[in-house]
Subunit: 126 residues, 4 copies
DNA sequence: GTGGTCTAGACCACA
DNA sequence: GTGGTCTAGACCACG
């Protein structure tokens, strides 16, 4: 059950991304309780502090609410998370576009590059 | 001439990207001499150590060649740089795809996101 | 009858504050019996442990007296509660003054800030 | 030089409050560099992680900007910090008012309580 | 049991 | 040198 992380990017961010994905896909329902910090730490194979940081960051963004002594809960308002994901996704995409343009890529070349990359690894990871 | 850097990404990388872009666009010709580390540091408004790191990385990748006492020169073989750019571009693109898939985006959604982002900012950046 | 709690502050404290307020305002008479822990938990919509903690704290402070098998009773001596409230209120006030001074606020600015805050929300809360 | 902290409140918050106070009082100028995480840890007599958390929180709030390898810098726009302080101060004050009203205090009693508390400890702490 | 804070110390990327 | 991340483990407050 241990998630595999890319060691070049912060674990707490990757974990956050995964959880936002899970929330939006319906695996985690609005209002439901997340695994406790310690449970999730075991599941993900990381230190509880790292999970704690993930949860704190999600709370800061308004996606979850932590209640001491009770647990951490997904916000009832799932629009918040959709919106957060959208913003983050756009930011990442913009970043890629900037880099590729810096490299001198034309717009259609960028699109083709993406299409190629998508089809190379045909199946969804998980 | 001072470039504006995004402080959230390594400056040495951004500088490298710009130079590879310049080489491929013909602004920097194969075989030409790069500004000295100190000159470039002043031009770009960054720490000389950062320029040094950029040059070292470019040399390691085979894009430039430093000749003791003479300076640093763009490789005559411009294919090297084209190839480097291609690899880097693919890697960045793959990274984006991974993140977006983690978020639950479908392949066609990813492509649409990119297209939107490209067309939003119609003009090429500086 | 379910009270609305601020999840950023301990619930047992908020409950205690409310009960002390009720006692002083005459809603809870000296010598009267409090709802049982379980009853109060239902009424307030909180965990019985939380009510239990509230009652224990109030007993420790001498505001209530629990009699085995009979329940928990408001002390006959209402001066005790007045005094408790006074101490707590002073402590909270002192804390605010410390924070605001840390921020660099001058004494008269602190007073003005309080006056503004009081008048902004003209009506008494529930 | 070690700062004295109230052990009942998070150190990283108290440190943040102190620094916001220093910035607004002009002890820390806009654009200036803060002590490094390690330096400040020694000065304040706390763990570097705690300082790091303070700085991160301040960055999140837009009061400072951290640049890896360079340091942490006060934002040029000092209005940001003034505004942050104001918001925080109002929130703290509102909180006190709520508690005191819960206790049954009348508006003028609240103001008198504050005035008393201010004059009791006539001199500014440091 | 829960989350929140703090310490200690390591390692890394960056300028 | 700088900040950023992570681990390990402790202690506390809360429900």
């Amino acid at each position: 059950m241990a998630i595999t992380f890319d060691h070049n990017r912060p674990i707490y961010l990757q974990l956050k991304e995964k959880m936002y994905g899970d929330i939006c896909s319906g695996e985690l329902l609005p209002g439901s309780r997340l695994p406790s910090v310690r449970e999730m730490a075991v599941q993900a194979g990381v230190n509880p502090n790292t999970v704690s940081r993930t949860y704190m960051e999600m709370e800061r963004e308004g996606a979850v609410e932590s209640r001491r002594g009770q647990g951490t809960f997904v916000t009832e308002n799932s629009d918040v998370i959709t919106s957060l994901k959208k913003t983050a996704a756009e930011e990442e995409t913009r970043r890629l576009v900037n880099v590729l343009r810096q490299y001198g890529y034309k717009d259609d070349e960028i699109i083709n590059l993406l299409k190629t990359e998508i089809h190379v690894k045909g199946e969804q990871p998980e």
